[in-house]
Amino acid sequence: MSQEPIIGIDLGTTNSEVAYVTDQGPEVLKLHDEGIVPSFVALDGNGRVIVGQEARNQQMVNPRSTVSSIKRKMGTTEKVRLGKEHYTPQEISAFILKALKKRAETVLKQPVGKAVITVPAYFTDAQRYATREAGEMAGLEVVRIVNEPTAAALAYDARQEQSQRVLVYDLGGGTFDVSIVTIESGVVEVMASTGNNHLGGDDFDDKIVEVLLKHLETEHRLKAGDDAVLKARLKRAAEKAKIQLSDYAYAMIEEDHVGRVRGVPVHLKYELSRSEFEDLVREDIMGTMEAVSRALRDAAVLPGAIDKILMVGGSTRIPMVSDLLEEKLGQRPHLEIDPDLCVALGAGIQAAIETGREVGSVLVDVTPYTFGTSALDSTTGTPYLYVPLIHRNSKLPVTKSRPFYTVQDNQEAVNIEVLQGENPDSRNNILIGEFYFKGLSEVPSGNEILMTFSLDVNGLLKVHAVEKETGKEIRGVVENAMRSFDDEKIDDSKQRIDELWGEEEGEEEDEESSGEEAEDVGASLDETVSKARSMMKEASEEDQEDIIDLIEKIEDARKRSDEKSVEQLREELEDLLYYLE
């Protein structure tokens, strides 16, 4: 690594990261942590500047000496107070960049003086200039300012040979952006960008906290009032539950000793379902969907003209977001690269490109197929509704669960079909496993069965079904779930079609295949000839003559389009070369 390294930086509103392309590929640089540095700057009791988690940790104690979300002020002349002094937004950002630079130098064990920094697509020239300035103040030469959606697209597709129109949906901790960009031979044009500067995962946590506080008041007569400490505890529990609901249908929130009512300790136990959580955040998420429509309008693009949807920001893990986008745009968004790190990784890739290094995209293990089960559609009554549990391109290993309900009163058993495929009609997908769940309770219809699919990198698909009320469960395993059952099915269909078409189809196929072969011969002939030419120098005089003779004959035969002779001569030449090797 003799070349001076260039690092890639995602300078975010809530969090920042620094990435670098190592021999193992693009990586976010970690220093005894997960690589996520809160964008907080503070002065500690001794007047020393602290950045990141440490600064965030003391915000409650020292709010006057703590600055957060400075990105919102970039490009303005407004100064912020830090202790007794006032600083420009560039200066505050420079503290964050300096911390990231130091982190990179510690991890890479060499000085770092150059960086690529990302900014939102909607940033004005003044804001971009301010970002560049901040970099210089931190001792970093900013070799390039890259748009965040561009960086995300780079992480997914570093080469980008084809022209594509990409929609980047970025829902982070506190901000939301949607951008439509066109990427053509490395040049990126931002066609539209819109969003909400004050919406994100924190708002969703607060909504769960409200529900919990209300529950404590109605169930236990515990009034939290202004108990900031209790609220902090509940917020932590809420965030945990929210994360769990991305994969599971229910999250149990259990907090002991949350307070006392008439001297008696009160404990909180609340089961939050995914559907309840979705009701809580629906309004906000629908608002983001409107922004998506607005962006499409601004870019004058129809939903069908979007080639790819990329997800950025931790809150995009909420399944409802993907589902609504799929409904709206007719394709499943990509979420396989960690949405918290995606932009930083893209910045790292751009940095490597700046040094002229050959880089690939971020590699992750994903499932190439969707796995789901078959159910009765309660709205239309069709018994063949395909309900996907694990979507195609999900990062592995993955676990997803969903509730299902019995149709009849006293229904004793359910048939669980494990299907591979994308078709909304379950009959058109491939049955890769089938389980019977017998001995269900004698209860009216609507008995809830929670189904969980877990898929690992080796293609082992574990199926778990549990009767929610009683806890009765069954477990099943499908091995080699990621095998291409499709091909087998296609072969079957092909055979059927061939039979129907009779010989005609067969002939056509023959022609096709001979055409392919001819191409192959052409390619290998050129290879053989050029190989012969290069080996001639080393060969004896006699062999040289033979080689020249053969090459001439081959060229003659080629001119005459005498394929048979060409092939024969090529074999001769190959035989000769074979022994010269």
């Binding site: 005894h32 942590d33 503070a42 500690d44 009791g45 602290i50 988690q53 440490e54 600064a55 965030r56 940790n57 003391q58 915000q59 409650m60 104690v61 020292n62 709010p63 006057r64 703590t66 600055v67 912020v80 107070r81 900031a228 400490v229 902090a232 505890r233 932590r236 002991d256 000793h257 300790p265 006699e542 024969q568 074999e571 001769e572 035989d575 022994y579 010269l580 090797e581």
Partner: protein, 307 residues
């Protein structure tokens, strides 16, 4: 060069060695006699072989420029077969002939075979050398791979340990809260109203209340001890795992290992120290596994953030 090709060459070489030696000896003797004339004629003969599509070293010989039944046809096809099939050393296909041109033709073919053999041997030798190199490279790669595998294994172990541990850390907090509640429930230090002398009617009730109170305190003390024991056991396991609990009780607030989630007016002179621990924090070496979440004692309630 692929492994299979080298292997193929080796087997072919082994099977033909005997025959070749024989040919080589014949050839040497013959060439001494025929000299230059022989060499000149060879070029022509070899050329004519190829023109006719007959490749002396190949099993794919197609046409022979003599009609079947002709003795030359027999000779040439036998010879081609001998070259192609290498299962057993075949007899020399050369029939005694008076025709010098024919002898030369056969001889040329033999020489061609010799040349081929030499090339093969050379190729095999080079192949072996390359295999040796490849083997050495493989071993060194394997060694360095094993090293990084060990590093990977320990990284995975540490990560798994961390995620499992953090679940248990939550349990410790539950135990801690239980202990605190038990301590708060204790009525020790409170007064029990004792009836004044003369109110004998109340004396019995007083004795019952006193006994009940003492029994209650004893039970609470047992609960307290139970919680304390569980916590001590937990902390012993921590030491065993190389994990340290972030010390908080009475300690100054340290933002590198603690997160302030609230403030409380300091009672006395302990401003800037931890007033209460809500979530315990842990470190392993330089890594902060989890920050402690604490309430910090401050001189006066902190105002809202300026911005």
């Amino acid at each position: 060069m692929g492994k299979s090709r080298i292997a193929m060459k080796l087997s072919r070489l082994g099977k033909k060695d005997g025959a070749l030696e024989k040919i080589s000896r014949t050839l040497k003797a013959f060439s001494k006699k025929t000299g230059a004339a022989c060499r000149a004629a060879w070029g022509w003969t070899a050329g004519s072989f190829r023109k006719g599509g007959l490749r002396p070293w190949s099993s794919r010989s197609a046409s022979i420029p003599f009609p079947p039944g002709d003795w030359r046809y027999e000779v040439l096809s036998d010879f081609a077969e001998w070259l192609a099939e290498v299962e057993s050393p075949p007899p020399l296909p050369v029939e005694p002939s008076n025709d010098f041109v024919e002898v030369l033709a056969e001889l040329a073919a033999l020489r061609q075979e010799m040349q081929r053999q030499n090339r093969e041997q050379q190729a095999v030798g080079e192949g072996m050398a390359r295999m040796g190199e490849a083997h050495r490279e493989l071993v060194s790669r394997l060694e360095s791979g094993l090293g990084s595998l060990e590093a990977l294994e320990s990284a995975i172990r540490e990560k798994t340990e961390k995620s499992v541990f953090l679940h248990f850390a939550d349990l410790r907090d539950t135990l801690q809260r239980g202990l605190r509640e038990v301590e708060r429930s204790s009525q020790k230090g409170k007064f029990l109203w004792k009836p004044p002398p003369g109110l004998e009617s109340c004396e019995e009730g007083y004795q019952t209340a006193l006994a009940r109170f003492q029994g209650y305190e004893t039970a609470l003390e047992q609960f307290r001890q139970g919680y304390a024991m569980a916590l001590e056991r937990f902390d012993r396991i921590l030491t065993h795992m190389g994990i340290e609990k972030v010390p908080v009780a009475g300690c100054p607030f340290d933002p590198s290992t603690m997160m302030a989630v609230g403030t409380r007016p300091a009672e006395g002179g302990e401003e800037g120290t931890v007033a209460e621990e809500l979530v315990s924090g842990y470190t392993r070496g330089e890594e902060v596994l989890r920050s402690a979440q604490v309430v910090v004692a401050v001189a006066r309630p902190v105002e809202e953030a300026a911005d």
